[in-house]
């Protein structure tokens, strides 16, 4: 049997035009100055989708960049994977609508999957499965999120951290050493309540009562319809799950830390990344950060780092990367990519 590997062959991102700066937040909350917000979060600004701009719109624009620059011929896509937690509708599947908007072939498979910060790594693994089992030759993986639509503007704990954005990644079948190698996964639904939008699904539908706002001990205002994040719990989860994931993945791949040129983590917050670098004793120059001007864009943080590495010329053929996504669910995954 002819063996081939799935390789990342093109990548682009799209960030909505509206920008929320620390100055805007400082004026709104009046507790921290713009500089203090930067010192606490490592973020200077984050993008916000417009009122009529959906995650799918951001994803289409990211994909369109690839098409317009000649890096993707829509006709060659035979599978579309769309990762979001903000679909256009309950149904139909947003990926099917995107198939039509991007004029992908009608022979193209298309599905949505609902994951957050781990979504990109899961998407790569699904694409690998499709390509290496010869079910597809070219997979378009779109990640897009608009958490801003779930965020109460009076909730500083999430307002400062999250930004909207999208990324489009093309995976193709190829021969050679480059490509997606080993993956590992993890899930723990006990942590579901710590990063959640309670209402809007079938379990708890929206009512006047669920729209009632309340103020927490830190002065943040939200209702059950808004995004809630327990930062302490999420932090504890990350500092415990990520080091184990790194070690297990290295073991599975038969690699040592020195074999990895870049550890690309989900860009949760600067403090979280600093702590992971310290706890895992990783060389800081091999852990790229890319969130200062975008914040935490959920499933698009990892491709935004990859795009940064590509555009800056830091990443070279033959480099080996470890990607680790972790967060809402709880859900996490790690993968080794040979560039």
């Amino acid at each position: 049997m002819h063996m081939h590997k799935a390789v990342i062959s093109a990548l682009a991102s799209y960030l909505p035009e509206r920008v929320l700066t620390n100055k805007d937040l400082a004026a709104q909350f009046g507790t921290w100055t713009a500089e203090q917000i930067f010192e606490k979060t490592g973020i200077r600004s984050r993008h916000r989708a417009g009122p009529d701009e959906c995650a799918s719109d951001l994803a289409v624009k990211a994909a369109q960049k690839l098409i317009d620059s000649g890096r993707l011929d829509p006709q060659e896509v035979d599978y579309l994977l769309f990762c979001t937690q903000a679909p256009d509708h309950y149904l139909p599947t947003t990926a099917c609508l995107i198939q039509d908007r991007l004029k992908l072939p009608r022979s193209c498979g298309a599905l949505d999957f609902n994951l957050g910060c781990s979504g990109y790594v899961y998407g790569l693994s699904l694409a690998k499965g499709l390509i290496e089992s010869s079910q597809a030759r070219c997979v378009l993986l779109l990640t897009a999120e608009t958490y801003s639509k779930y965020i109460n503007s009076k909730d500083r704990s999430v307002c400062t951290v999250f930004g909207d954005g999208a990324a489009a990644t093309v995976l193709r079948a190829a021969e050679g050493a480059a490509g997606l190698d080993q993956f590992i996964f993890g899930s723990d639904g006990r942590g579901g309540r710590n990063l959640i939008v309670q209402t809007g699904g079938m379990r708890c539908q929206r009512t006047e009562e669920t729209a009632q706002e309340s103020t927490d001990a830190d002065g943040n205002v939200r209702s059950a319809n808004d995004l809630y994040m327990n930062g302490r719990e999420i932090f504890l989860f990350a500092i415990q799950a990520v080091p184990v994931t790194i070690n297990s993945l290295l073991e599975k791949a038969g690699l040592g830390r020195d074999d990895i040129d870049f550890f690309v983590f989900h860009q949760a917050t600067r403090y979280m990344l600093d702590e992971l670098v310290r706890k895992c004793k990783l060389p800081p120059d091999r852990v790229p950060y890319a969130f200062e001007m975008v914040g935490n864009t959920v499933s698009s943080t990892i491709p935004l780092v990859l795009e940064d590495l590509i555009l800056s010329g830091r990443i070279k053929t033959g480099h080996r990367l470890m990607l680790v996504g972790f967060g809402v669910g709880y859900s996490w995954a790690g993968g080794i990519v040979r560039w």
Partner: protein
Amino acid sequence: MWENHGMTYEELRQQIAEILEMDLTELTEQTSRDSVATWDSMAALSIISLLDDACDDEITSDDIGRFISFRAIVEFARNRGILKG
């Protein structure tokens, strides 16, 4: 194992004072989240990290819910074998 991570009462006090950006003389067992403005969400994360480093077994959600005063932190450190001497 834990001897490598353990610390004395004074070392713990010093580290918590540093996290809370307090003068060491001001930090007592009565110091709590409600009484110190610098005990904010970032300080809470630093405390979790410090104790997670020092503790041999995994700290839990229930544990971190109790880190609301220096007295509670000392009690946790004592019960989990973190405190030396």
